[in-house]
Assembly symmetry: C2
Homo-oligomer: 365 residues x 2
């Protein structure tokens, strides 16, 4: 497949919303023992559950290093496709390809530069070169030419689109020092407009408290459909999350989308604070240059980190009183999709959740 020097906007391609129909989903198999406790075995079980669950609704490809190939193939359901792919960790939402489609039934991809959420400024591990090759390898498998941006760092989890001309991001992430400090906010916005083919960008100030991704939007807010945004919420004014969510609510309710619609915000209550336990901390290899997992640290838990697929929504739950509330609320917001709750503390311990470990491939006609 080819590397393209143009941009999707110029060529008539757009990033479809996640709630549009998929051809499939990609997941990377977790294995690094300085991020996933106990040799990544507990995480592998949950990733397997996520892959097997999604695989009931749409084709799933799990990519995995040669070292873990046979183990992954053995654990995953027969209907999950398993393909070798070297990686630095398992966040394909962030390092994977962002697919774009046109109305002629063609698919291409945007291959952003990936630098492990901040490179040498505040990145989470080093090196990240294998992860940065993931998108181009996905493009070969999906037979999609790609727009490669050598000079623009972005993760897929830091953007959401409504498929009708609107993108949603956080300033905390996109304006961070570790990504594109050479560009102004306006220049960054222009990149989004050119490569996602959107006309308007909604800039939420901050994401979830203590989110190591510099506040990715996908843990904080999501488009349920055009004009409707699900927002992580707490009523607890003493929670540092309160200010973040309140600001986002006020901002979104004051804004309109690319089509001029006022934004309707739906609150999704977060679980109560979840802290890393001593046992969990001790199961992680201590390695220089990798973010340590310290006992007592608060995790960036949020139900908004759900994945919307063909006929279903896969939502992380935490054995928390708010689990039921989130499930009920999402069922109301997605009346035509089955809600698939998955106990996902193990993914959270690694620094993200179900949305972060998945990357959809949009269907073409």
């Amino acid at each position: 497949m080819k590397r393209l020097d143009s941009c999707p906007r110029k060529d008539g391609f757009r990033m479809p919303a996640e709630f549009e129909e998929h051809a499939g989903t990609y997941i990377i198999w977790p294995e690094r023992t300085d991020n996933w406790r106990n040799g990544a075995k507990p995480a592998q079980k949950v990733f397997t559950e996520v892959a097997n669950t999604i695989g009931k609704y749409e084709p799933v490809t799990v990519v995995v290093s040669d070292r873990q190939y046979q183990n992954a193939r053995g654990m995953l359901a027969d209907y999950v496709r398993v393909v070798e792919m070297s990686n630095d960790d398992s966040w394909i939402r962030d390092c994977g390809a962002t697919f774009v489609i046109n109305d002629k039934g063609e698919r291409r991809a945007v291959d952003w530069s990936f630098n492990a959420w901040g490179g040498l400024v505040d990145g989470l591990y080093f090196p990240w070169d294998k992860d940065d090759r993931i998108a181009s390898k996905m493009c070969e498998l999906e037979q999609s030419d790609r727009y490669r941006l050598d000079d623009f760092v972005l993760e897929g989890g830091s953007i959401h689109v409504d498929g009708e001309g609107t993108a949603m991001v956080t300033e905390e992430c996109l304006l961070s020092e570790g990504r594109n400090p050479h560009l102004s906010k306006e220049e960054i916005e222009q990149h989004l407009k050119d490569y996602l083919n959107v006309d308007k960008v909604l800039w939420i100030h901050e994401g979830i408290y203590n989110d190591e991704t510099n506040g990715h939007v996908d843990n904080m807010a999501n488009f349920v459909k055009p004009g409707v945004v699900a927002l992580a919420w707490t009523d607890d004014v003493n929670d540092p999350q309160y200010k973040r969510s309140s600001e986002a609510l006020a901002y979104l309710e004051s804004e309109t989308d690319a089509k001029g619609r006022k934004i309707k915000v739906e609150k999704i209550y977060t679980p109560k604070p979840i802290l890393i336990s001593k046992e969990e901390s001790e199961g992680v290899d201590a390695v220089d240059g990798t973010l340590p997992r310290v006992e007592g640290d608060r995790l960036a838990a949020s139900y908004v980190n759900y994945y919307t697929g063909n006929g279903f929504v896969a939502v992380p739950v935490f054995n928390d009183p708010h689990d039921e509330l989130a499930i009920k609320k999402l069922q109301e917001l997605y009346p035509d999709r089955k809600i698939e709750p998955i106990y996902a503390r193990e993914i959270l311990l690694g620094g993200g959740n179900i949305h972060c470990i998945t990357q959809q491939v949009p269907k073409i006609k």
Copy 2:
């Protein structure tokens, strides 16, 4: 995809002949510097020519380690699919999947044990575990369940079939000490009957002189069509090849195939002896446990190591007076296919030729 415990014969699957229609071809990118001279750069150029040439006729997938991924992607034509796959060397004919089909439009594969042409007895390198995983990874990409044989060693280059119930092998290879010494000739034949779904096996005594594969049939003889075999030949009675070819000729002309047809043999004259040069020898890393490439050693050159694809035959040539003779003869034997000669001394230096570095995926309806 699933691992199957049955066998193709029982399930109504058969290995089609190479001259039947293909869905595509696989090739492994060469890189090991203890087999390919000058950092494998000359070989990579020729593999690129082979892949790009075949890609004009049928879909080609080149699989490649992560280390060489970007280099391979850059060198190969855009229409060649490039997929990461760890490997020990680049002989996918031998370590890859042997695909079988049925008359209901289904495809499966046989995943033989691979031990680098003789394991600890007289294998050519150690270890070979990555190569032994290639077949299962091809099966995932082609969405084919596989029959895995943990206790039976075989390389795809050691078998040919006519698609109508006949297989052709050499005793030199299949009865070698390094493969299945625990099995009798009759038991080995039964494995071929069960897993290729053939009724008759033709046992040529020996392959090409000094062939490091223990005389693979694919360097010595090939089915042009049912009832017709192309055989490597020399008239030089002083060439050690003479006795081998003469014995094979006498044997084949005395035999019938599974359908009771007498075998018609077509002679393909080999090039004159080709020896490794000093410069070629010096370009190869010297590593314990890998077959050394010694100046003056005779290479197992044969035009019969050609690949038959959709509408073409890719044939190795050696800048030898017999090149034209081989091309002319093959054009007579394959009147409906374009003959594509490729100067392939570099592949020969690594120990095989065009047939050895390709593995077809048969088309299903």
